[in-house]
Point group: C2
Chain length 345, copies 2
DNA sequence: GATATTTTGATTTACGTACATCAAAACTTC
DNA sequence: GAAGTTTTGATGTACGTAAATCAAAATATC
């Protein structure tokens, strides 16, 4: 049987009340007595039963998730994962609230954060927009002792407790490495389609991609970046133009959303096979394109992992517990058609 | 506030005892009354507080892990992850016991399973050896209501509750796809080094690799498989021989262990750059070789994820709860030097 | 050595659920 | 409608910890 507080009291030769004072570091215990209790804890190997403790404290965790609204299928997938976690955690004294705000709108996000603060949750997870007013709103949350985790897109310059997302520079480098190797000696330039250079993760992916191309495949011509605003129709038009202007186009790296447009343009031009296409995020559409061969590689961040990691971290921070960084690292999934998971998404 | 059993009783206009009878489906409740209670549960949105319930039940989970002994660094990594989980779960009424048995020894494994049965744990996780006596031992555990999860290597033909490991056919296919694409038009044959064809996961990786090479890169010559017994010295000798006999060797797929030998042979022959090497499992050595460029791709299964998944599943099964298969799928990590995690391992 | 102060003990209640007991009420059945 | 059976209520204890109260003991202060 695991030792309880009673066992500690007996072992240390003190009362239950004193053990409680030591365990919850309340005042009124002499150093000698505290030592005896700590000794007993050590020899018996006592560990506090967190479930019982939370029950006694009447503690619950209330968490707020703030996500961008809109059609972005990755974000909608994220939201679905939050809802799934919410259902699952209902039995574990954890209550989750979801709030959607217009995408890329810093002031709307700052307002949402201010409102979250009024609800005094234990923690807030937010897909950050990189702007000063957002940083300020986060700081105010932190000052009230509310834990903050940034999700997918980080907020440097703030004191957020943690970032639950992938290393986008590494993602871009990975795309560059694969592009360079897949093309081998084949001639022709490589194009890059971004969503918007205003978004931090896109900037970082581009940075990584260009770095590797310059370091390792310096003879390959990189065309100037075009911005598709994560909009399928615009992406299709832009990629169509690229193919027309560069009939020998060898590869395309699409580091934002709007993959439907990318796929449509490649297939209409009959370039599905000839052009090596690397894109981001596994969705039903991108999955189909990977299987058909139009897309050659998909880089992905697992939304479910990000959400569950964010929740674990928020709870730990709310309890003042340490976080195991290695366990919370979100990996970059590389999907070829041969290692696609069978399930949904 | 979340509703409690008391709220249900009040809402349904029955006593606490009746609510309890319904919740834990004990006998002695008329259908009408049961209906009233269920209605109240639905309207109030009651969810049982599992922490409080476990506390009341005095329930704890005792889990047994049975792993292969020996020098295999992947297995030692697994064991380290089990120990880490054990420490972490001490505060959550979960007790983990680890037992190591000689590798590839079916009867020793069957004995260990029989002994585990005597301890009557809630669940057992085991790295299976694919043999009839092991299947029998697993069946006996299952008949006593003990949950069983196979780890890393599955046990088809048994009624184990779950397999926590990667799809090794997909892993082999992935290796084949990458090998074919990385080589492109470069001439030369490809060699495969396995550990032993007696081991199921090695057989499956080989099967996947060969399938893709034949389907998609049919002009590429595949040399006959050599078996290195997961032994670094033997692997080094075998690979050295391959390089001598085939000066134009283009690629090597090492689907087992003994990567140290692979790396040594390639580097001694001055073929570190020329030969495309794909191997399995991220260890300090393979990591270094990936960074230096001797190994081009590492496929990996995350030991920590496998262990934590096994624990979640065992607990769920012990409670008779459903498992979210999508959440428990163990992915195949593909590591290039650009997306290596920073941490340990 | 009397008084003030700090430290400790003993005891109680609470958290939300499980489980047991015994009595009371509601039904069957003939 | 009496006897038997099933259903329901009322109540208490337990799980391991938190938190509070008040009294008792130990120590410090002058």
């Amino acid at each position: 049987m695991r030792p309880t507080v009673h066992d500690i009291a007996a072992e240390a030769g003190v009362s239950l009340a004193t053990v409680d004072r030591v365990l919850n570091n309340r005042p009124g215990v002499r150093a000698v007595t505290r030592g005896k209790v700590e000794q007993a804890i050590a020899t018996l190997g006592y560990v506090r039963d967190v479930a019982a403790a939370n029950l006694a404290k009447g503690r619950g965790y209330s968490l707020n998730f703030i996500l961008p609204a809109g059609e972005n299928s990755f974000m909608r997938g994220l939201e679905a994962e939050v809802r799934a976690a919410k259902a699952h955690l209902a039995s574990e004294r954890t209550e989750i609230t979801i709030r959607c705000v217009p995408a890329f709108d810093a002031s709307a996000l700052a307002d949402a954060l201010a409102e979250a603060r009024r609800q005094r949750p234990a923690g807030v997870a937010v897909v950050a927009v990189d702007a000063p007013e957002v940083v300020r709103a986060v700081e105010e949350l932190r000052q009230e002792g509310i834990a903050v985790v940034t999700l997918v897109s980080d907020l440097p310059g703030s004191t957020r407790d943690h970032f639950a997302g992938v290393d986008n520079i590494a993602a871009g480098r990975t795309a560059g490495n694969l592009m360079g190797r897949f093309l081998g000696d084949r001639a022709g330039p490589v194009a890059v389609v971004a969503g918007s250079m205003l978004v931090r993760d896109h900037r970082e992916r581009l940075e990584g991609f260009q770095a590797v191309m310059h370091e390792c495949f310096e003879t390959r011509l990189l065309l100037p970046v075009v911005e598709g605003q994560d909009d399928a129709a615009l992406v299709e038009k832009l990629v169509g133009g690229l193919i027309e202007r560069h009939p020998d186009l060898a590869g395309i790296y699409s580091l934002g959303a709007g993959n439907r447009g990318l796929v449509a343009a490649l297939e209409k031009a009959g370039k599905a096979e000839a052009v090596c296409a690397i894109a981001h995020e596994l969705t039903p559409h991108s999955r189909a394109a990977l299987l058909s061969g139009t897309i050659d590689v998909l880089l992905n961040q697992d939304a479910g992992h990000e959400i569950r990691s964010a929740i674990r971290v928020l709870k730990a921070k709310a309890d003042g517990l340490p976080v195991i960084e290695a366990q919370e690292r979100i990996r970059i999934d590389i999907f070829l058609k041969d290692n696609l998971p069978n399930g949904q998404a």
